[in-house]
Assembly symmetry: C2
């Protein structure tokens, strides 16, 4: 039997919810996100015998994007990269690869197999990131689905159940059940007047019931959504036991259990088959001989009609002059390179802070998680490792590579430790989730992004990600975005309001190209010049 | 600022939620679903010169499972199949395939490409279905991830927004926001006493806020979870407009928006690369020459120590006698075949009702959904087509095959129509979601499972799926499960409490084999017999 709500309750409720913000009504367009996000600028054809020249500093995703688009439009492009390989933070680690952490260099010793890799930087492509999706298609990068949330993974919190891990489905089902019970009880607790708009009230109650799998009395008494304790196919199923709300509340994972698959991990996610750097390899393939590696930039000087860059390679100094410079060197490193940028531009570069982030990974002797019904996804723990990621690929193969720690909110806990201590800590913490973890893992690697050579920091941190920018920061952001001297563009996700995503790096390159094209007049020029 | 709850409120709440069922406390084991679900029975080695003989009727998933396991253990097996191919309802339709619907036969005209197929029966493998996963691995069936829920897909309801489709993320975000607002408001509306157990109260409020993305005043004012109206990367993002709760309540999709990824679609889902019938092909490969097609069974007679089966093939009658019979012919067809089963067994066979289910599919000229950020997943509509499924595979290819209707709750709306009307109706209804649908789709096929030859029904329907079985139905279920005359086993998902899943078909075969082994004494016999 459906309980009733009164006119007063419902009016109050609808009024309140209806006026808490401008609302969209039946007549308005909706859900139609403007198709503006595929932002590749139209670049007018360059004069083939008088090509504009572009020096691109850094072969990160934004530098590669700029080079790829400008090269395609007939510009003379060169990419100068400090490291011996392209990609920047888009780094995939495989057998034999060097992890160039300052003071802690490592050579990866994973088995030499296509599925045995570790995406040390970005690892997920939200399908709504249209520009990145576009380049994957254009560059022939094969994609496969990535699993982020998996109800078969665990929540482990030392404060809850004496530290025992609990399956996500058990945690989530019980959290939802009790939340819905509280919601439904309160919704019905004041029957003052005769019922009103029965349809709407019933729809609400029905939604609460559905959300929590409540019984007809709006009580949560457990749910098969948490899994069968036993049976369910040939015999009648038995429910898993109900978990006490006060136990769940000991953990801070209530929030994540109720917000899985929101935000950037809401859309379908992809990963390139074989590793995220397949994107880098795709760009590099197209750019053929235009990327120069092991280049140390020593000076960037704005000139009247261009930019002059000094660099060293194998101990020899070079000078290259170009019409424009696109620069994705992290600003906190760029400030240490000789330059003649205006004071406000330098102020902006100095302002940008960098995040710390730490990841580590193990090769595993077996795919032990699959015996526990886990195929991809993330286990959450309140320990410093924070997460364990299981690979969504390599199903039915013998081994795999798991992410064994991902500290994205500081990363300093592990950074202080020796390599040996880092790995031992990851093992000890992993054992709280998987009792045979120590026997299963081997050949660990670790990466502290804030100590990686040529990088010394993870994503830039604008306050946009933390609740709004001050007027000063707004000014600095736009100063850094605009070209210094009309000729030097700082690019990369560091010049975006949504840092740490490859899409942002790409869009910053698109923005800079679009701005440059506008400044150049925006139309294709005929060969030669007007006389 | 966090609002406060009172001691009274919290105690009431915790007591209520704590006592609504037996709850699991910190000391109890949890989340550890017993590892009993991988149910392959141990089959003692058969005497190689005096092999038990088994006739298996029907090459559906349960029949194939039984044949595979018994053949492997050294039994003499033969599978008699009425259709010209194996699989039963595990049917994948490709270029040139016959859809053998009585009165409406069709030949599929899709392009002849590996990714252009339609799983007309089962299409999803929950990763928690351990036995099916086991056979995929054992049979070398390559799996890829299937996408069920996708926030980029649509809800379309004629009652809501004048029938305009709305993106799942917009619907869901607003539904959650308002639900959380109602929840949080009611939770806080009665501050009588001094605050108590601040930590728990704050955790609850925090969870409500997280669930709905409420602001600090516990109001829902829209959320970026619904997507950006514009910007968000290089410029500050603008929120999509808030949708009025009373508009959402016009639709019955509130419930599905709040319960996505629950139940059987909660775990990670897989599909075989190239079509679900790769599983069937895997079994058939292992069984080599033991499956006979186009066989019409005309009589099944229990004998003192076995079963005698009469059948016809190419107009010629045959008789085969075996020690045991495993029979996955749908019971409602089996009752029409001459037999000498006991009365209670016949009563049980007569009792089982069959569902109706209707599906249809189109080849598409382009992958138009991908331009709309949709990669896999389901669009829901209140029209008779109910669902549109977009393929999770074939990314970046030119065309695809979409499911254009899935009426699993009756299927009679379309069944009545001519083939031409069925397809025209699907197009007209699809146009409400995708305005260029008519231009995009071609070469439609339709399947009414309750009219398919050799089948004439979809999954069996025990009341277990609809809120419990009566004592009589329990008796009938166990009668049908037990072997008639100790020698004839009815198998298939039809003898399970969770019909319509391949896992159930497999488990029913395992159960029957296990029972037979027990009856045979359960130990390996030496060659010959004791003298």
């Amino acid at each position: 039997m459906t309980k009733r709500v009164t006119r007063r309750e419902l009016l109050t409720m609808l009024a309140a919810t209806g006026t808490s913000a401008t609302v969209l009504n039946a007549s308005a367009a909706l859900g139609m996100i403007p198709d503006t996000r595929l932002g590749i600028p139209e670049i007018p054809r360059a004069d083939p015998i008088n090509r504009p020249s572009i020096v691109i500093l850094g072969a990160g995703i934004s530098g590669l994007t700029a080079a790829y688009e400008l090269d395609k439009a007939g510009y003379d492009c060169v990419v100068l990269e400090a490291a011996p390989k392209a990609g920047g933070r888009c780094l995939t680690v495989r057998h034999g690869d060097l992890i160039d952490e300052v003071g802690n260099p490592q050579i990866c010793d994973f088995d030499d197999e296509p599925h045995m890799y570790f995406n040390a930087g970005p690892a997920r492509i939200p399908s709504s990131h249209r520009n990145l999706m576009h380049y994957c298609k254009a560059l022939g990068v094969e994609l496969e689905i990535f699993i982020n949330e998996n109800k078969e993974c665990y929540y482990q919190d030392d404060a809850m159940f004496k530290g025992k891990p609990i399956k996500n489905r058990v945690f989530t089902t019980n959290a939802r059940g009790f939340m819905a019970e509280i919601m439904a009880k309160n919704f019905n607790n004041d029957e003052l007047e005769r019922p009103f708009d029965r349809y709407e009230a019933e729809a609400l109650i029905s939604a609460m019931r559905a959300f929590g799998d409540l019984d007809a009395d709006e009580l949560y008494k457990g749910s098969f959504r948490a899994g069968y304790a036993k049976g369910g196919f040939i015999d009648h199923g038995e429910q898993t036991e109900v978990v006490a709300l006060h136990e769940l509340l000991k953990s801070r994972f209530m929030n994540s259990a109720l917000t899985a698959n929101e935000g950037e991990t809401g859309p379908v996610l992809f990963q390139p088959v074989g590793g995220m750097d397949k994107i880098v390899q795709g760009f590099a393939r197209e750019l053929r001989n235009k990327i120069y590696y092991d280049v140390v930039v020593t000076s960037v000087q704005l000139q009247d009609n261009g930019v002059a860059i000094e660099y060293q390679h194998n101990g020899i100094k070079y000078l290259v002059e170009a019409d424009y410079c696109f620069n994705c060197i992290p600003t906190h490193l760029m400030t240490g390179i000789d330059n003649n940028f205006p004071a406000d531009y330098q102020e902006a570069m100095h302002h940008v802070r960098r995040g710390e982030a730490y990841k580590s990974a193990f090769q595993t002797k077996t795919r032990f998680w699959e015996k526990d019904d886990i195929y991809g996804g993330i286990t959450w723990t309140n320990q410093p490792i924070r997460q364990i990621w299981y690979p969504p690929h390599g199903l039915f193969k013998e081994k795999g590579v798991i992410l064994a720690a991902y500290d994205f909110g500081g990363g300093m806990h592990f950074t202080r430790l020796s390599q040996e201590e880092r790995l031992e800590t990851a093992i000890r913490q992993g054992e709280k989730v998987h009792s045979d973890y120590r026997q299963q893992v081997e050949k660990g690697i670790t990466i502290a992004w804030h100590r990686m050579n040529h990088m010394l920091g993870c994503a830039a941190r604008w306050s946009s990600s933390f609740g709004g920018m001050s007027a000063r920061e707004e000014r600095l952001y736009h100063t850094l975005q605009a070209p210094a001297g009309g000729r030097h563009y700082t690019i990369g996700d560091q010049v975006s309001l949504h840092t740490a995503w490859q899409e942002s790096a790409i869009l910053s390159a698109h923005w800079a190209i679009g701005d440059m094209v506008k400044r150049m007049g925006g139309t294709s020029s005929m060969p030669g010049r007007r006389v």
